[in-house]
Amino acid sequence: MSLLPQAALAAGTLGALGLGLLRRPSPALARALALAAPLAALLLLTLASPAARPPLFAADLKGLGWQFAAYLAALPLALRSSGDDVETALFLGTTLGIGLLCAAANLPMLFLGLEFMSLPAYLLVARVGEPGAAGRRLEAAVKYFFSGALAGALFLFGLALYYADAGTLGPAASAPGALGQGGLALMAAAALFKIGAVPLHWWLPDVYEACAPEVAGFLSTAVKAAAVLFLMRVVELSPAPAFAAWLPAAGALTALVGAVLALRQEKLQRLLACSSLAHAGFLVLGVGAWERLGRDPGAAAALLFYLVAYVFMSNGAFAFLGATGARSRADLRGLAARRPREALAMTVLLFALAGVPPTGGFLAKLLVFWQAVRAELAAPVLFGALAALISLGYYLGLMRDLYFEEPVPEPAGRAASPEAAILRTRHGRGDGNPDSVQAAAVLAVGALGAVLLGAAPLFIGGLWP
């Protein structure tokens, strides 16, 4: 398949790196590059046609669809980029890695894409954000790195086992033996790590909590989408992978764990991280259903729709944090009175995340659950529904905090006005905070998208001719 989008991103990455060679750093140029490269990739994607079948994968629109979702998910971070050339290069590098992953045709390419996506991401986590929190970010980045390294190593050993059994570094025509199944299982473990599925999820709350909100939004949408496709590719390697039987259970378990963890979080970013875990669980459940239905394209379409809806919902939710500077649930109290529009947008997003009709979030959950029901996965669906029910607890709780709770009174000695308190907790980029405008824009678009997707899922049919 055409690699033009990836080429555009590569050009962007190199360009951003080249900016460092300029005598005077130019934030405007870096920001423009950060925005232009994913947009160019999106445009070039429309030119790509699936007629050019990649040599070792079946006729595949998934790569294109997933790229679309991933580049779309990259736009908010591009919009909110700070203009630092290194950060821009890291961001574009991660996006390029995602593009490579989506276009991967065999195992080495898959590994390359995985690592290409992950390595800049580790550094992105460490780098982007306000100076005061650098220590926490570093800790998060270290945890992310080592967990990712373990996953990568497991993937490689799995690759070795699979290759030893199947004799090829691509899809095998016949089901592999025990050695091969073991290899596939290890490779799947790496994919599950990247998605954040139980029991390889430990890094996710810490990393999402510590990094800047816009980076968390990016990780939770673009990287997660790529990881889901990664898992699907591993499944596609053999006609009957044994590990796939565990996917629905792992998905349901992840959803449950994410939901119960989120219930007790006081810090908003960690709460959203655990909620992201829950959504990852639904996605893994969906992949399990897709496999059980014989890799049904309709099921894959449902997954893609979920991911696109999630792009809007998650980016919007994290943008809310950036736009209002709220850090904890206590910060939310009384916020609806002070910032009614942001609160309204967040409410819409919370409804969408919870899966309340008529939002896109509801439709996405419905479609994925419907696939799981079709695949006769009764118990995972039930547990998934339980997780969704539990998740209502914290989503509604956040709404309650926004609208029905009084602000916590300021202790003496601090600035009296709530505005000052909010300003203090924002990214320390100076007064007036240019980021808040972009964050508000992402918030608004996220809320709109989350709602509109509920009304127009027409492209599901269109994506699969």
């Binding site: 945890k143 080592f146 390294a149 690759l159 070795a160 004799g167």
Partner: protein, 100 residues
Amino acid sequence: MTISSAVWTIAGTLFALGLAMLVLRRGLLAMFLGVELMLAAANLAVVRQAGLRADAQAQAAVALILAVAAAEAVVGLSLILRAFRAGRGLDAGAMSELRG
């Protein structure tokens, strides 16, 4: 013992050792070494298989993987260096501010 089983034994042992170092050691550098060990072990296994099947593509893949491992080393070491410079020491156990 055939060459293949010897290679598998060595690779497996190295991998297990690396895994043990990663999981059980607390020093960041030691953990990192464990990662490298695991990558090398996997590479070894792939090389053996590629040679067995005279698969040029797989051997090229090994080269690719080596390059990626090197890049990973760069990133990892830079993070470790930053941690050291920030005065956080190199103890993974001490890095537990993010929890819950």
